[in-house]
Symmetry: C2
Subunit: 208 residues, 2 copies
């Protein structure tokens, strides 16, 4: 198919597809002469993946680029690829205090979680804990444990539902589930918070 069809099938403007090609997010089509190139299903798929990660997933193009590089990586250990793809999804961390970092390490150790040594998630988590602390809101151990338990619950379900057939598919699924599951989880949390708030402070002004 030509670029026009790729555009109409994915609802991405031609100019944007050209931009993604220039930025190396989308592999070039098969060149046919000097002024045209043919695209196939893999381009449709890749384009949809980019749009999903950027749109519903809320990732920047820079992060998408990193994620795609890992998805395309043909490494030997699946767990390694998963870890790398995962790493590419994580927002930049602010520097965190040693106290919070230690608290995070303790939490990870208590749960017996085996995480990648330099995982930016630790710093990210510690930074968020610090930010809360600076505002005078200490996230106590009880609350932090509820978060960890809830996180474990969805994470186990996420990994259990990963397709096991072929490697590339598994890595893509892991990336998609992690990226798009985030907004899903946060939206559900806010909905549940509304309900909890209604039950605690409730008035006549609710809907169901």
């Amino acid at each position: 198919m030509w670029i026009a069809e790729l555009s109409s099938r994915t609802e991405v403007p031609v100019a944007t597809i050209k931009y993604y090609l220039r930025e190396g997010l989308l592999p070039a089509g098969q060149a046919v002469g000097a002024t045209r190139a043919r695209y196939d299903e893999s381009h449709v798929r890749r384009l949809r993946l980019i749009r999903a990660l950027v749109g519903a997933g809320g990732l920047s193009l820079a992060r998408v680029r990193g994620v795609l590089a890992e998805v395309d990586e043909e490494s030997s250990e699946l767990h390694e690829v998963l870890g790398a793809a995962h790493g590419a999804l994580i927002p930049d961390a602010v520097p965190a205090s040693p106290e919070s970092l230690q608290r995070v390490d303790q939490l990870v150790a208590n749960h017996g979680w085996r995480v990648h040594s330099g995982s930016p998630d630790r710093a990210l988590l510690a930074g968020a804990l610090d930010a809360l602390e600076k505002l005078g809101y200490h996230l106590d151990d009880e609350l932090l444990e509820s978060y960890a338990a809830a996180a474990k619950q969805v994470a186990d379900a996420d990994v259990a539902h990963l397709p096991a057939d072929d490697r590339a598919r598994t890595v893509e699924a892991a990336v998609v589930v992690t990226a798009l599951g985030g907004p899903v989880l946060l939206a559900l949390r806010r909905l549940a918070q509304q309900d909890a708030s209604a039950r605690r402070y409730g008035s006549a002004h609710f809907d169901k």
Copy 2:
């Protein structure tokens, strides 16, 4: 205190404070003559709140402005203010399919959740479900239920830990916990995913 002290105490550059003042994120100080103004603890607090929401919370200034407006709102019903403040935290939704919207409504109904009628979270959630669907990854009911159960668990803990003393403080705490608890939850989920992946696909390459 003068602007220089406000700046040094919060580690926010003077130019940035001036910018926030211009943008109406920070209330003006008490004017003393034509060329100076006095700031107090409330400004320190507000500035720290802005920085926490923008930094660790990842909110845009536009969203912070909306949140602050609700925090400052003196409405009669606490649950109402909470709902409004909450609404200001939510990212813009993409249009969602009627099928997904219905699925979300069903989920909310099944759990007996009482949520604000036009909550953008419904559309946001439905949009994320659609995005997943378009990529060929259906989030089945079982997985969605794990998400909802986990969300309920943290939401209940969130609301239970809210300070009950004074209204303004409760609203601020709700906003802070919702905004900063999001990154905390997602980071924990990714850590737990790493562990789950290590257990399922694990090799010798992990740390603990």
